[in-house]
Symmetry: C2
Subunit: 539 residues, 2 copies
């Protein structure tokens, strides 16, 4: 009977495993790749997408193009039944579970992101893990420039023109370098912004940047970024974040409206729920990728803890979570699965890194290849040439080459076409003293206090007298928009560090119109609070 | 004192007016353009974006590139005070109103879309007016192919592979032609989909398509589309729509999960609130674009009713809402504003259409130029050449030409990178008999009934006995997910045409966690309904 090999994940690890298996085993096996997106993301190019040097569509390739003859299922993995040897997924509108049987299972689900340990970060920072993240960052940066161009308030302008990146590993350094280039090249279209008003900061908790690279290259990178106006704060992490500020671990408060968190790697949430041995959130595997205690279950890539030697114990004894390693792991894994199917012994994974490349944007880079180090324009060209060749598909390469050439010769477009997704209910953090909204502002949402305290101040238009009250967790404010108020009648300020849930106007109105009990609650509330005409009634 | 000319809207009308004014008046005036997006959309190319023939970024140009020396304000227009001669806008996070003074005001806000007259259409149809619409349509179409590829349910596959376009004017015909090409070219990557399983339909209420074009061309277009497998239903409109079906005015029920509405043009919502004379929702202007009864206020483009002759009364006596006319109107308007500033008389607008072009996709088109008509490949090339020259900016042209060349030589990418925006609360329509969800489905939302009735059926796992109850407007269901239920315990079906408000799981949980009264209501409700252990308790 034909063996079914199911691969969970269509990134570097999963995609190359599938191709290698097809190459080795041909039609003698059924191969299925399950991924939540229908495309493969060429992650090293994400910072270029974030900076607008290439289009989003050039950094991705349809899995169907790369996996001809392999069944591609666009679906979300829900769970695995290791006894029945089935995977349960949700596809389409994702209501009905589909059960997918396997003979061999490969878990290549990569890593997720978890910023919840730092107050405010999950709600106010941007990440750089997916294609959507990269596009959103670009849209966000341009939105800040647009706002800074027209605002008349100095503190708003300062916050809009301060950009913070947290983490100075590869992701952070490439992101900040590309972002700086985007900003620098866009400024000539924003006559009201002076270059000196822009502040770009990288926060790194360790005492040096790019810990994975040799000293000489890290030093070059730091100097180059500094000469381009990027501030590097070493020994500094982020302590908390709001929509308008970042507080560092050294107590400095930075007015900023852009925080990019490249830290916070975490296990894929699906992997965490699987009944497999985990350590540091990664799947424990033997040197040949087999998952301990599970028959015909394998794991590789960022979600697996792959020992590179017997008795591995230190962090550097395990395979690093890079594309370079994922591709070599995939080749060895495919060989091992073939071996197992044919009753032969498997081989342990062994690979020595060939080096590392990083782009600093603006035509400069750093490269370590086969023990030699390069910096500057040459390293940047090596970076581009390497990834160009590595990209799957001739036409993707042609398109990226065209984009790069055009980018060198013409202005970089500042069209802001990727707006942040609208979400009905969001969490927002405020620091003690922050103003949440002020009298006269457009009434755009309904707030509930999750923790902390706020002070509501109303000034009676007639008498000029001010009325103040303080409310805390569990209370709410801003519901007057149900009375048809379009402008706020009071000013609300946080008196402690406060977290709120805000429901935007449209959502609030939909719920009030549609959900009787919700409406009734507010009718009663408003009747109680305003009905008797007390001047300092709730906001 | 320097005159300030404020232009509301950055489309063809507004953008070309600004450029022409700058050309004529140089630095003697201040010109400001206010637009809610920071880019100009080259609308004729939107169907190509929807089909993936070009990238979204190639159909737009930053206003700042096109309007050097002109102040560009990215903001939403709130209102105009004609006595004070100011415009109130919201910019940035859009809380604080900004007041912009003017000496001359140009209203060029275009048209909006209003599908509310047909039940279900506003909630379940896609539109093709903006760049986001075009991207969303592409993502939607590919999502349907992905789902059809893997689903095991015939009725789901049929619905996923049926695509309906409403309206056979320019927009509808170009959209359906391009969409058909995208689908045809993608099918080779979806081995489980046979071309015969795909159904593409255009509904047109009139008795012929392309009413604005000569008979000969409309006939050619209809034949060409038919030969490519597009069904054209004449004399047919849409009566109602749900998430899985469309009902025509002739009573036919079509299983479909893609409805593109190119009808439903409506006045821009902002214009409707302005204190200017309106007729059919358009601003009434004199032949020289001046708004009746308002000093130094002008209007042009899609939002204005511009008479082309004295005593205009029939529809064809007014300027049609096309880009071709908008550009000529802009030139005449700029001349008229200059004239008024310099104390000279204004001139009436006069222009005779030079023709019209439409692409049918797949290398075929129709063209009417200076009275001559063309069809086929030649017309399609004329279409491409014309718009290529019309595009603003050398590099945009180069990029579009590159995209087109690549598109001719390589496969069209099916990466589904534009997902529909998540909204916390949505309205959904169901027809009598539709199943809303069934037992075993993943519990993904909380439902409130706005109108209609539903039947909830639970089968007791132990006894096999079924329990049914019917609830109507104001009642809710699906709240068991608050108890941590991840799979539905009952099946819910609409017994009448029903409209519901759905709050997705994530929103529901955020609100329950954050809003005490909300949570309390459900705690009480669940206590009342489940607490006493009745087997047919609510769902």
């Amino acid at each position: 009977m034909t063996q079914r090999i199911v691969i969970l994940g269509g990134g570097f690890a999963g995609m190359f495993t599938a191709r290698e298996l097809r190459r080795r085993l041909g039609k003698t096996v059924e191969i299925e790749v399950i991924n939540d997106k229908n495309y493969f993301v060429f992650q090293p190019l994400l910072p270029e997408v974030a900076a607008g040097a290439i289009g989003a569509i050039n950094a991705v390739t349809p899995l169907r193009f790369l996996l001809r003859g392999i069944f591609v299922r666009k679906a979300k993995v829900d769970s695995v039944d290791f006894d029945a040897k089935t995977v349960t997924v949700f596809q389409g509108v994702q209501r009905r579970p589909t059960v997918v049987p396997y003979d061999h299972l490969v878990i290549a689900l990569g890593q997720g992101s978890d910023l919840s340990r730092t107050p405010g970060l999950a709600d106010h920072a941007l990440t750089m893990k997916t294609l959507e993240d990269a596009r959103r960052l670009r849209g966000h940066v341009i939105e800040r420039l647009e706002h800074a161009e027209i605002t008349e308030l100095p503190e708003v302008k300062r916050g809009a023109l301060t950009f913070c990146v947290i983490g100075a590993g590869f992701s952070g350094i490439e992101t900040v370098g590309e972002m700086k280039e985007l900003i620098d090249r866009s400024l000539k279209y924003y006559p009201n912004i002076k270059p000196s008003e822009v502040r770009v900061v990288v926060l790194e908790f360790a005492e040096r940047i790019l810990g994975e690279m040799p000293d000489r290259l890290a030093t070059y990178a730091a100097d180059k970024l500094a000469s381009r106006g990027v501030e590097v704060m070493l020994g500094t992490g982020v302590s908390s974040a709001t929509g308008t500020q970042l507080v560092t671990t050294t107590g400095e408060v930075i007015d900023t409206r852009t925080i990019v968190a490249t830290i916070g790697n975490a296990p894929s949430p699906v992997v965490l729920t699987m009944d497999v041995p985990l350590e540091h959130g990664k799947v424990v595997v033997a040197r040949d990728f087999q998952v301990q205690g599970r028959e015909a279950v394998w794991s590789l890539g960022d979600c697996a803890l792959i020992p590179m030697k017997d008795g591995a114990s230190e962090r550097h004894d395990f395979a690093p979570p890079t594309a370079q390693f994922a591709v070599r792991e995939a080749r060895q894994l495919a060989a091992n699965i073939e071996a197992q199917i044919k009753g032969r012994p498997t081989k342990p994974f062994a690979y020595k890194s060939q080096g590392a490349l990083a782009s600093l944007g603006a035509g400069r880079g750093i490269a370590e290849v086969w023990g030699m180090t390069f910096t500057g324009l040459f390293a940047w060209l090596v970076w581009r040439a390497y990834y160009l060749m590595f990209l799957p598909g001739v036409w993707t390469r042609v398109a990226v080459l065209f984009n790069w050439t055009k980018d060198l010769l013409s202005a970089r477009s500042v069209v802001q076409i990727d707006t942040a997704p609208r979400t009905g209910a969001r969490h927002l953090h405020y620091r003690a003293g922050d103003r949440i909204y002020e009298s006269g502002n457009r009434a755009d949402g309904f707030y509930t206090i999750l923790s902390g305290k706020v002070e509501i101040t109303r000034t009676d238009a007639g008498t000029g007298k001010g009325y103040t009250r303080v409310i805390g967790a569990g209370a709410h404010f801003g519901e007057r928009l149900l009375l048809g108020e379009t402008k706020r009648a009071a000013t609300v300020r946080a008196v402690e560090d406060t977290q709120v849930l805000v429901l935007d106007r449209e959502e609030f109105e939909k719920l009030s119109d549609g959900f009787g009990a919700f409406r009734q609650y507010f009718d009663d509330y408003i009747e109680d609070t305003f009905g008797n005409g007390t001047p300092h009634a709730a906001e």
